[in-house]
Every structure is written in C-alpha cells, then in structure tokens.
Amino acid sequence: MKIIVGQGSCGIAAGANKVYAAIEEEFKSRDMKGELALTGCVGMCYLEPIVEVIQENGEKITYVKVTPEMVKEIIAENIPGYTIEKQDEEILLKQKRIALKNCGLINPESIEEYIASGGYQGIEKCVKEMSPEEVIEEVKSANLRGRGGAGFPTWFKWNAARQSLDTPKYMVCNADEGDPGAFMDRSILEGDPHSVIEGMLIGAYAIGANEGVIYVRAEYPLAILRLEKAMGQAKEKGYLGQDIKGSGFSFELRIKAGAGAFVCGEETALIASLEGERGMPRLKPPFPAQKGYWQKPTNINNVETFANIPWIIRNGGNAFAEIGSEKSKGTKVFALTGKIKKGGLVEVPMGIPLREIIFDIGGGIKNDKGFKAVQMGGPSGGCIPEHLLDTAVDYDSINKTGAIMGSGGMVVMDETTCMVDMARFFLDFTRKESCGKCIHCRIGTKRMLEILTRICNGDGRDGDIELLQELGLKIKDGSLCGLGQTAPNPVLSTIQYFREEYEQHIYDKKCPAKQCTSLLTYTILPQYCIGCGICAKNCPVQAIAGERKQPYTILQDTCIQCGKCKEVCRFQAVEVE
C-alpha cells in the first residue's frame, strides 16, 4: 500500500502534517509495510487535506478533507464516504495542465520522480542537439508570453540578452509573488521545483548565462526548502554545476530570499534588491538585457514562464502554439479565490471564457449568492462585472475590460462585496508598497486613499468621483514603474462599471453591499425580538434600551455600528440597512 499526502502550504495549513504523522503512527502500530510519500498541491485547496491510497493492484482511492481521526478507518480500508466526489475529480479533466502538470502527482522532493515524468530531457535535448539560437527559435514558435503579468514575449527578451556582448550574463527567476490573493508561483515551487530549475537551465543556455539566481519571497519558507533540496539533487545528478552532462555548458544557481516589498516584482527594483539595496526601480533603457545585475546583461522571467519551458522544448513550440487563442498561446494558471465554492489553483487554455472558469470549474458562488465581479491582476488590475463574464481569458481581451491578466490572481466577489471598499483596499496596499521615488505615486496614491476612505465613511463630496479619475490618470502618467502606472486601475475600473455604487455612497450615504460600517443603520425588528436583552448586554456603548420580555430599541445617536448586536442575536431580530 502506498499513501500519498498532499503537502503544499495550503494542505499543511489545513492540517496535512498532522494527517501525515497520524498515518506514520498507524503504520507503526499495525507494523505495516506501507510506503508513505508526499506531493505538492493538486490545486483543489477546498478539499485539503487530500490523501491518496494506492493499493497493490494499482487501484487508487482519493480521500478528501482528511483529519487525523479518519486515518485509522482509511487504513483499515473501511471507506465511509470520505472519498472524492466524481464532480470534483472531473474538475481536473476540464483543465489543461502544462506548468502544473506534475503538481500533486509527483513527489517534489524526488528528482527520480521528476526524471521519470520526462524531466530534464528538455535541457539534455538543448545542450546535445540544439544551438542557443535554435532554442530561442523554438520558444518564439511557441509564442510564449511572460506569465508574470505584462505578457512580454519571452523569446524577445532571451534574444536581446543573447545579443548583448558583455559578460558574464545572469539568468534570474522572479519568484517574489507579491500580489495578495495569488499563489500560483508558490504552488509550482513547492510542487514541482525541478521544472523551474530546468526552465532556467534552458534559458541560461539560450542567452549564454552561467550564473543564476532565484529571488523568492521570504514568506514562502517551504518553497525555499524544496528548492534547496531540488538544487542539491540536480547538482548530484549533474544537471547543475560545471560541464552539464558533458556538454561544456556550466550553470551555477543560488537562492536569494526577498524581504517583503511588492515593488520588487518590477525588474529593475528586483535587481536593486539582489544587490542588497532598497528595492527602487530605475528608468529603462538601459534594459536589464543590456545592463542588469551588477550592470551586466540579465534576463528575468517569472516562475510560471520557466515552468512552461521544459514542456515546450520536449513537445515543440508548435504544439504549445496550438493551445490557446490567436495572440495568447498556451495555458495560464489562476488562483481562484474569494466568494467561490471550489477555490484553488486551475490551469486552463488561454481564450476560454471567464464564466467557464468561475462557474464550471470553480462551481459558482459560495452560498449561491449573486455574482458581482471578478478581480483580476490584483493591485494592478481591475474588476470585471457580470455582463463581461463571457470575455475570453487572454492578454488582449482582459486588457480591454480595464483589468489585466496579471500574474493570475482571480478573486470572485458576490453581492455582499462593496466595490468602493475593494478599491480602497487595493489603494491602501499600493500606498503602503509605493517605494516613494515618484511623487505622483507616493503622494497621489495617498490622496486617492484619503478620498476613498472618506467616501466609505459617509463623508464623500460632490466631485469626488471626477477627482479620483483625474488623479488616477495623472498617477498613471507620472510614475516610472509598473506599480504606479497601474495603481489607479482598481479605482478606475470600479468607477467605470460600478459608478452607481460610488454615487450611492456619496449622495445617498448608503452602502448597498452593507460593508461600510459608517453608512449602516441597525434597527431591531419588534416582531422578531423576544426581549431577551442579550444585545443590550453585549452593546459596547450602551446604545440599546428596553425592558426584558419587551422589544428592545437601538438609540441611533449613540450606536457606533459595530454589529455586535446582530452577531449575538439568535432570533435574526437585528436588521441592517
């Protein structure tokens, strides 16, 4: 019997480690000879912890939402309804997995399993059969575009770095996944670190670099650990280091842990951070391909981009280009979160409609509430409303809606999400993360945040919407890097599609989603109130008056709209408006 436990960060957070330990314990106490292994995240985060049992006859049973208490029964093969449901299994069939193809299937800590899945064949093919120019040509025919957000053609960057005459050259992997609500890169690093290493090797061979750095977010300790292990194994097997597989090509790789700064996702800021400085972006040109890390030619790609490369080399660029839409080829990984039933990681062919991702794969909205919008691209992106749900997921179509493809965060919102509050949330984030170099970004985001905060607090004024729009456009124009140039997007796109909601906040002093506390009125419905007095007892400001066994009332002048009364009332007698 072989048991595999999904141990990505989300699985562990859901208790996978405890399940793993319980299985180990159970094996010991039964004196069983079972094999226990781990794997990365398969993407079905809503079912974690996930345990797979593979019987001697090859039969596989998947158990979901496993707790340590369930382990005894699972091992005793007494299977009382813990197994995965058919419709959940089918979610995987609706996807097309290239970057995630090994995630949740192989043991990320075993190079043998990676090699058995066809791993490192790509780099072997490159160094033995292909010239660097041919490698670039292959990536060009695949038409792979950068998966970090901007969607710049990968081959073009590689070619520019290849053409640079200066040496040494550097290959850098951007694993500083800073977009709150996105965890694609983390899952790939945790679930299939070798694919990223192989992708970097192929890229390094193509541009002529012999040194590489992976810049990982320090908040991803497990990813760093698995990468370190993978690098050690690759070195042992001769895939990293000097004279790789007798080809004469050498590549040394190291990890650098970032220290938490969203702006370091920008290439030039990332380079400054690699050099031990404050992560401030600089003017381009010169581009990193000419003058990057230590003023030498440097190529930077994102984790998911690299994870696609081995597949492209093995299967050919044309096979990759057959997947996807006209201008966006291949697949894209999305982190589907928010008010969604089946949240997790999905990889789909470019060009499929948003609706399919959210309703077919994601199972629709939690608690069957109404869909309101989906936020794409995080703090640089925007909200896409319901009438655009049939938009195809590719770079150009998403850009047209005012959102961006971004790195792959897809946060679903329902009717209880306030769009003004959402815009305020993102502005609060970019205001904190602005490095301060450009005045428009540094001060402009602060001013925009102040305006949004006052609208949420019920102090919005006539003209605020126009002021936000004007400021937004100026910040876009007056900022040097992507952070500032895109920071106003969440505000501008919500004004574009949900202007009414802004107006209701400003003129009617009402929050239709009932999120902005200052705009809410709490009242007690006498027909439901039994006069138990628990609300009055819990009110922190003594704003509820009444006599026992009689309906209570809320004194509006004293009420601070904390919602405590609604929380404690067992008879749904507190109404919010």
């Binding site: 957070a13 859901a14 220290a259 951070s273 400085e277 949240g343 959402m422």
Partner: protein, 175 residues
C-alpha cells in the same frame, strides 16, 4: 546575596548576547565575500535576535564597512524587518484580497479589542504582537491568521477570540 545574583544574571545575559553576536559574526564573515549581501545579513540577524536591535545594526555596519544610514535605509524599506522586539506570540493576520473579501476586518477588530493593541503593536505584557501581512497564500482557507508558524483558517470572530483566550489561559496557568 541579592546583589551577587544580579551580577550573575547580568553575566549570563552578557554571555548570551556575546554568543549571539559570535553566531552572527561568522555569518557576516561568510557573506562579506559575496557583494550585495546586506539583506541576507539582516535576515540572519533577525533570525538570531528576533528583531534588529539598533546597536546590532551599528555593529553590522562596522564589520561590513557599510554606513549606518544605508543600513537603516534598507532595514526600513522591507516589511520583513522589525526594529522593535516582538512578543512571545507573533500573530500574523492575513490581509490579502481573499481574506479581505471574506471578512478579515472583523477578525482584526476582535483581536485588537481582545489584546487592546493596534496593528504592529505589542501587548504590555510582551505576550502578543499583532502583525498585518499582505498574503499568507492559503487563500482557500480565508480568513487566515498564523500564530508562531501555526495556521488557523476559516476564522470567525468567535473562533479568533477563543484562540487568543486559550493562549492567554495556558500562559496564566504556566506562570
């Protein structure tokens, strides 16, 4: 006697800080060879001390030949670095988009009122530090918080309150 004990205690503290510094010093010597390693050194220092004490920043500067202003600039730029000591329990409350949509604001309010401390602050008894973080990456468990490395997901205000109170009670019993 009392005076004597105090001296011993002081000596012990001195030894601890000496051994910590020596530990850091070996790391500094290793990183000195690699240009651009200031961030890595600060990360090592924080790992050893739990935060970045002012005098340690000074000493790092002296050993690496870097001006204090630059070290301060780097240390204050990145959110990972803390210039103040943290409590025994570090609560990292996720403020990512998914957590925000699923009600992290309410969780924060509960914790703040339970501990009587603002985000970024430490309780007077040095037991808890409340720290808002951008995203812990367990979005499907939102809202999420992490206390000393342990993740608590799908929180409700009541659950958060209970978790905090449980820690408080176990601490009181321990003392």
């Amino acid at each position: 006697m009392g005076c004597c004990m105090e001296k011993n205690e002081r000596k012990e503290i001195g030894e601890v800080s000496q051994s910590k510094w020596e530990k850091l010093k070996t790391k500094i010597d290793k990183y000195k060879e690699i240009p651009g390693s200031l961030i890595s050194v600060l990360q090592e220092a924080q790992e050893i001390y739990g935060y970045l004490p002012k005098e340690i920043l000074q000493q790092i500067g002296e050993s690496m030949g870097i001006k204090p202003a630059k070290i301060h600039g780097v240390a204050t730029f990145y959110t990972q670095f803390r210039l103040e000591p943290v409590g025994k329990y570090l609560i990292s409350l996720c403020q990512g988009t998914a957590c925000h949509v699923n009600g992290s604001k309410l969780i924060e309010e509960v914790i703040r009122s339970e501990l009587n401390v603002d985000a970024g602050g430490t309780t007077k008894d040095q037991l808890f530090t409340l720290h808002n973080v951008a995203c812990l990456g367990c979005c499907s468990l939102s809202p999420v918080m992490m206390i000393n490395g342990e993740t608590y997901g799908k929180l409700t205000p009541d659950m958060a309150r209970m978790i905090i109170r449980e820690i408080m009670t176990s601490e009181q019993k321990g003392v």
